[in-house]
């Protein structure tokens, strides 16, 4: 055996998609009499056994409230919970666990930051977002703008679905206080050149937030290398449970921000004369947290770390490449979002068909995709469509499933012809 074949065997061993699929029990079922083909990972990803088992074990063996310290179960729960925080810190390469705050998800994380930055904003200040943002990275800023008199300004998108850097350069100015953009677009799959944009923003003292919800399922970000002030993502898109997400924030900024919600856990001392806040990260974690969910998210990250990430990314790219090759086999089909740098997400339309028609008839064939505006109405307006159909792939999808999607789309197209 020569060196090359040894290397190939190693890669196959590290990334055997059929073996990986066995880790996801939900995938091996029939839907409408057909084997499920799950291509709605951008909306929410499926969970490996490792996550289900970790959460089950947590509830069977260690559940109690955290940070109370009076008994053994409380210690176990706290150890698991804070261990999960360390897992997330390591995943993001954050400097410290005090910079990792649990939230309900990406949406709450952005709302928390927007509220926390409100005291720094005044009339005339500008918050730069982009035309391709999810509503969760538009509306919280609009609400804060309303309160402070600041203005939300969108960076333009090119027809290919990339952030228009000329537009960014012309909009970044002395009034800009915040730059909040998606690391990866949920509709288009575009990987935005965020490191360069952050560097430019930093040069002007602008505070930066990256919405990483659609990035983390496909690659691992390094928040210190990116040098962003905030990075946010949701567990459920990262193969973890629903109901929990992460806000990474630079400690100095988090220290300056007021608490988001008041209650238990987030206080140091309460009296009717004066209440003082707990230290980071607890200042932003009022109430009993989602403990089992934190444990589940950590299990998801550990599971991903056990895989060969490079092989996984190569496999995902192969899925997108195959999909791109097959587009021409469906009459009238066109792809929306053709950026050079993309995660395996394909938004598309078929002439004469409404996205909901496509989704319904794919579902009949056991294929799950997302249809609609994807919580990105400004982007839909830009492309002049009521919505798109979106197939979003994960590493557990197979080339065969990509082919099934296109065979099914040909059938849909014939039904309406």
């Amino acid at each position: 055996m020569n060196d090359l074949s040894v290397a190939n065997t190693t890669i196959q061993k590290a990334f055997d998609v059929e073996a990986i699929r066995r880790d996801f029990p939900i995938l091996s079922q029939q839907v409408n009499g057909k084997p499920l083909v799950y291509l709605d990972n951008g909306a929410s990803a499926q969970k490996p056994l490792a996550v289900l088992d970790a959460m089950d074990r947590y509830y069977r063996e260690m559940h109690s409230n955290v940070h109370r310290g009076a008994h053994t179960l409380g210690d176990r729960a706290t150890t698991a919970f804070e261990g999960a925080r360390e897992t997330v810190r390591s995943f993001l390469n954050a400097g410290s666990t005090q910079e990792v705050i649990w939230t309900k998800g990406t949406t709450e994380a952005i709302n928390l930051v927007a509220n926390g930055l409100a005291p720094k904003l005044k009339a005339g200040d500008e918050i730069l977002v982009s035309h391709m943002e999810h509503h969760a990275n538009i509306v919280p800023w609009q609400m804060i703008a309303e309160r402070t008199g600041a203005k939300v300004v969108p960076i333009q998108v090119t027809p290919a679905g990339e952030l228009d850097q000329d537009s960014f350069n012309s909009l970044l100015n002395d009034r800009t206080r915040v730059l909040a953009v998606a690391h990866v677009s949920n509709v288009l799959g575009t990987i935005n050149p965020v490191a360069e944009m952050i560097a430019q923003a930093k040069a002007r003292g602008v505070i930066t937030l990256l919405d990483g919800a659609q990035a983390v399922p496909h690659f691992q970000p390094d928040v210190q290398a990116l040098d962003c002030d905030f990075y946010v993502f949701s567990s459920h898109k990262l193969f973890g449970p629903t109901g929990i997400g992460v806000l990474y924030g630079k400690a100095a900024l988090l220290e300056e921000m007021p608490p988001y919600q008041g209650g238990g856990e987030m206080i140091e001392r309460v009296s009717f004369e004066r209440t003082t806040w707990n230290v980071l990260p607890y200042k932003f974690e009022a109430g009993t947290p989602a403990i089992a969910e934190a444990v589940g998210l950590a299990a998801a990250i550990d599971y991903l770390s056990s895989l060969d990430r490079a092989a996984m990314e190569a496999a995902e790219n192969a899925l997108l490449e195959r999909a791109n090759q097959l587009v021409e086999t469906v009459p009238g089909m066109s792809v929306i979002g053709t950026a050079k740098q993309k995660v395996p997400v394909m938004s598309f339309k078929i002439d004469g068909l409404h996205p909901s028609d496509i989704g319904t008839l794919l579902d009949q064939q056991g294929i799950a995709i997302r249809t609609g505006h994807h919580c990105a109405m400004p982007l839909m307006d830009f492309y002049g469509v009521p919505g798109t159909a979106r197939a979003s792939f994960a590493f557990y999808n197979t080339l065969d499933e990509v082919e099934q999607l296109f065979t099914a789309l040909q059938k849909v197209q014939r039904l309406f012809a």
Binding site: H354, S356, G359, Q364, F416
Partner: protein, 153 residues
């Protein structure tokens, strides 16, 4: 062009085809492709919808696609006539099915029609997603509200 009374009266759905015609045709089909082809064909029978009626007031919320609905109460016959439009073909087909069941009835007869039973008979709720199920319910809900308002008037 605004809708005239004649536009409403010209909508044949409910008389041609009748609900029995459709049920006979539909229940005979057992694979999803034929059923959806049937629904899509029904959608093609929806009468033209006036452009100027595609306004917020006539918009049916709760559907994935855009749906508009207008009605006209025909005093002489005491019957309620309906027109529905959508930009999605399957929804147009389901709207046609609803019109076949409910169009051109007196408000009292309309309210007495058990539409859920009909959909179950057509096995529609099993074959359509819950979100679309909700859209159908929104359409039916709006029609029943209109009928109830007419009986109260």
């Amino acid at each position: 062009m605004p809708a005239t009374e004649q536009d409403f009266l010209n909508n044949p759905l409910g008389e041609n085809p009748t609900l029995e015609d459709v049920l006979d045709g539909f229940e005979f089909l057992d694979d999803w492709e034929d059923r959806y082809a049937f629904i899509i064909d029904l959608g093609k029978q929806l009468p033209a919808f006036p452009d100027d009626a595609r306004i917020e007031e006539n918009y049916v919320h709760g559907c994935q696609s855009q749906v508009w609905l207008i009605s006209h109460f025909h005093e002489a016959s005491g019957k309620l006539y309906l027109l529905i439009d959508s930009d999605a073909m399957i929804v147009r087909g389901l709207a046609a099915m609803i019109l076949i069941a409910l169009n051109g009835k007196t408000p009292r007869d309309l309210l007495a029609t058990d539409i859920d039973e009909l959909f179950e008979r057509l096995d529609l709720f099993r074959h359509i997603s819950p979100t679309r199920g909700n859209g159908l319910r929104s359409m039916v809900g709006k029609i029943r509200d209109i009928a109830a308002a007419e009986t109260a008037a």
